[in-house]
Symmetry: C2
Subunit: 489 residues, 2 copies
């Protein structure tokens, strides 16, 4: 795209000024429509060092009420950020509905720098490109407008600007070592940038190359693209999105009705096994920590299936400084205003740590589906989106273990009644639990569909037969231990 890029014709001064004031006024008017329609707009400013990203950005936001936008400057990742998945630091910055987020710069910068400085091989680059494409597609699929700008200047122009900045002690600090490096290796950079732009140029979120030699002209190009992008997105806001074919390796998993629930364990054997397995897990946690492997354990299951007690038997074996349990309730307003995976991304562990989710992102295809909190296109799409999300985590090196805690309907009733009748357990039972119970069959079929569509080899489901809670606890411990041992090998 860059290498064969044709520089657009810069308009005459009069026309430029006129178009500028039109575009500014339009953007200013559009911000209210963005707010009304709840459109989230993510704008990426990428490009050559000293190309003027910051100064154009400064001009653009003058047309927007400061309450409706945020700007994030992404430097090289910190030590702490390096202990999270690649996309973590970008994902947590995505805007709320009705607001703008400007990133200066985005993930392109991080990736091309890793390529240029040989911190990333060909194979890893290709994998990253797949991640980027998925990430960007998920955003647009979920209603985000993603606008990507690349600020282009020539080698000569860049050199001139570097010298100019360096000549004044007030601006000298703005020239980075990387700017010098780029200028010295301009052709090499051009080639890597070009390849990245080509590789990530998708119909829903195409690249816009900005001729950045003249500041006002650059501003105009950005403004006009923003305006037309927003106008299009506002028209399309109710469009459904094509469902993608599954591309991930799936394994067969039985339906819930095919699972025999008569498995039991004696009290004596339970105690013996529990002690043995917890001691083992405790040792492994130590090794996980040292080898910096992150672990994600996801619990789903019927109300009163015994998730809480099951989780407790896991955490009892863990060093308290190395795990976190995340109870997942219905999303708060700031969570609902973003991509539904956002609040889970926010709770990911760092390397060497364990995150246990007590209910998970799979709520999308269970409660949100059945209670109508999302539309059909959204939950249909979610299977693939969650497979992608977990693929990202698996590629990062995470051990992912997903549990479905299974009981039958009679057992649930008995436990509900026990909760109702035992004062210190009453907090555990709500009217909602009874209402959900009435929809047992609908839930069962949704769960079957979920298990079938998301039982990937890299993040498989495990059904825990929990009519006998003790049996389920021992089984969970064994599965966790086995998965960790495999990862440590």
């Amino acid at each position: 795209m860059l290498e064969n890029w044709t520089k657009p014709q810069i308009p005459e001064t009069d026309e430029l000024e006129e178009r500028l004031s039109t575009a500014r006024a339009k953007l200013s008017a559009l911000q209210m429509q963005i707010k009304e329609h709840g459109l989230p707009v993510l704008v990426l400013f990428e490009g050559w060092g000293t190309a003027g990203k910051g100064s154009v950005l400064g001009k653009v936001i003058k047309n927007i009420d400061p309450r409706f936008f945020k700007v994030a400057t992404m430097d090289a990742p910190t030590e702490e950020e390096r202990r999270k998945p690649f996309f973590y630091r970008y994902f947590i910055k995505i805007p709320e509905k009705g607001k703008f987020e400007f990133l200066d710069s985005g993930w392109m910068d991080e990736i091309v720098n890793d390529c240029l400085h040989e911190r990333m091989g060909e194979k890893e680059y290709k994998k990253k490109i797949e991640s980027v494409k998925r990430f960007e597609r998920q955003l647009t699929d979920n209603g985000y407008l993603v606008l990507k700008f690349f600020f282009q200047i020539s080698q000569k122009e860049q050199k001139k600007r570097i010298e100019h900045l360096r000549a004044d002690k007030n601006t000298e600090w703005r020239v980075s070592r990387n700017d010098d490096w780029q200028n010295k290796h301009y052709d090499k950079c051009l080639h890597v940038f070009d390849r990245y732009l080509n590789d990530t140029n998708a119909a829903a979120d195409p690249w816009y190359i900005i001729d950045a030699k003249n500041r006002k002209w650059a501003e105009l190009q950005v403004l006009e693209t923003l305006v037309s992008g927003i106008e299009t997105a506002l028209k399309n806001s109710d469009l459904a999105v094509p469902l993608l074919q599954n591309v991930f390796p799936l394994e067969k998993i039985p339906k819930l009705s095919e699972i025999s629930l008569d498995k039991e364990i004696s009290e004596e054997e339970y105690k013996k096994e529990l002690k043995k397995l917890q001691t083992k897990l405790s040792e492994l946690h130590n090794r996980l920590y040292r080898e910096k492997i992150p672990v994600i354990i996801a619990y789903e299951g019927w109300d009163a299936a015994g998730k809480g007690g099951n989780i407790k038997r896991i955490t009892e074996a863990l060093d308290p400084r190395g795990f976190e349990v995340h109870p997942i309730a219905s999303p708060e307003p700031h969570e609902k205003a973003r991509h539904y995976l956002w609040r889970f991304c926010n709770r990911l562990p760092k390397t060497g740590h364990i995150a246990i989710f007590d209910r998970t992102w799979y709520g999308r295809v269970m409660v949100e589906r059945l209670e109508g909190f999302c539309n059909e296109n959204e939950w249909q799409r979610a299977y693939n989106e969650m497979n992608e999300f977990e693929k990202e985590l698996a590629d990062w090196g995470a051990v992912i273990i997903k549990f479905w805690v299974q009981i039958d309907k009679d057992t649930q009733l008995a436990r509900f009644e026990d909760r109702q009748n035992t004062p210190e357990k009453q907090w555990k039972i709500t009217d909602e639990d009874w209402r959900n119970r009435e929809k047992w069959d609908l839930y069962e079929s949704a769960v079957n569909e979920m298990l079938k569509k998301t039982n990937t080899t890299y993040a498989p489901w495990h059904v825990l037969e929990s009519n006998d809670k003790k049996y389920a606890r021992i089984k969970a411990l064994k599965i966790v231990i086995e998965a960790i041992e495999k990862a440590l090998k």
Copy 2:
């Protein structure tokens, strides 16, 4: 406290076991009461390296449902954390109502290490102690139970443990350089620890020294203290807190009714001044960034007083990568579940950056007071708490500028009507605005009280006469410029 500490008598094994199981059961039962009463519990584990904080912590949390607690391991602050005020990284970790947060370790560790390694002089130490005392008092005043444990072992015992850990390659990594250092300089450490404990031993959140030689015994001491602490706190949950006398330097400020609102500026002069001042501010922002000075600008004012437009004239002059505007609405559930300053602490700028608050923590003594969202003791206390909060920020080096944007009642009516009648402005006017208008007099007297009680020399209020919005904008720019220039000198 440590130097003259009398080691408690360790009970016989039988008694120890019996008391342990009693205490465990009690803690387990109490967690439900904590949940019901919405009591937040913050537990600090401090003490000598290798004293067994982690292992006792691991035992303690076995009695608590994993959904009701979190554990945070606080290492030395990262580069990013060093760019925030000292308390930032601790404050953001405080628990929600009804939950436990365990810190291993807390701010003591950071302070005593700075003392021991001579990164902190006597004067700074004393200032820090004042901050600590205020911070802890604010937490307990706001309904937090703060329990502070210090794990004590002798020099001999520590040496034995270090050698023991080092002998096994699975535990070798647990010995830190600091553990060795402590053991070598035991007496020096003891003295510094002792002083810190004495200096921060308050009635509402006293220190508990734990004899940590025997693990089970240490566990029992912690459990029993937790249990009795929680029982006491539950009994006291409705107690009001004494109001403290003001200790901060205040300056006189006129009442709103004494402020003349006939100030105006001509269109021509406005344009000229605006351009000049924005250019000036833009240069200063550059210098702020380089000298790493943080700036906090707080806007309060009547509805329709012109806060938004005023803020815009400030931000237009700023580099978008160096500021953030925080529009403050009513708190979300996770915010309401914590100390009312928590959500503002979370939004503090880092050094060199500017944070602009569009409405602020002063909501506590205006809308929350008048709408009954907090009780009288709470808002009465808040003046001092906010002065303390700002003192912390000022001591950190922040420039703090607080604006009250003032208009008269007629001007507000005219602007409300204009908003009502102009389609693109209608989003700016809500029923709530009209309801607030009816309470003008109540608000005015609350504002007067607020201005009087929080007009500190280090964080003064400035009234912006905004019947003429342009006049107010120019005045705001001048004040911001002056404050920044003063800080840069």
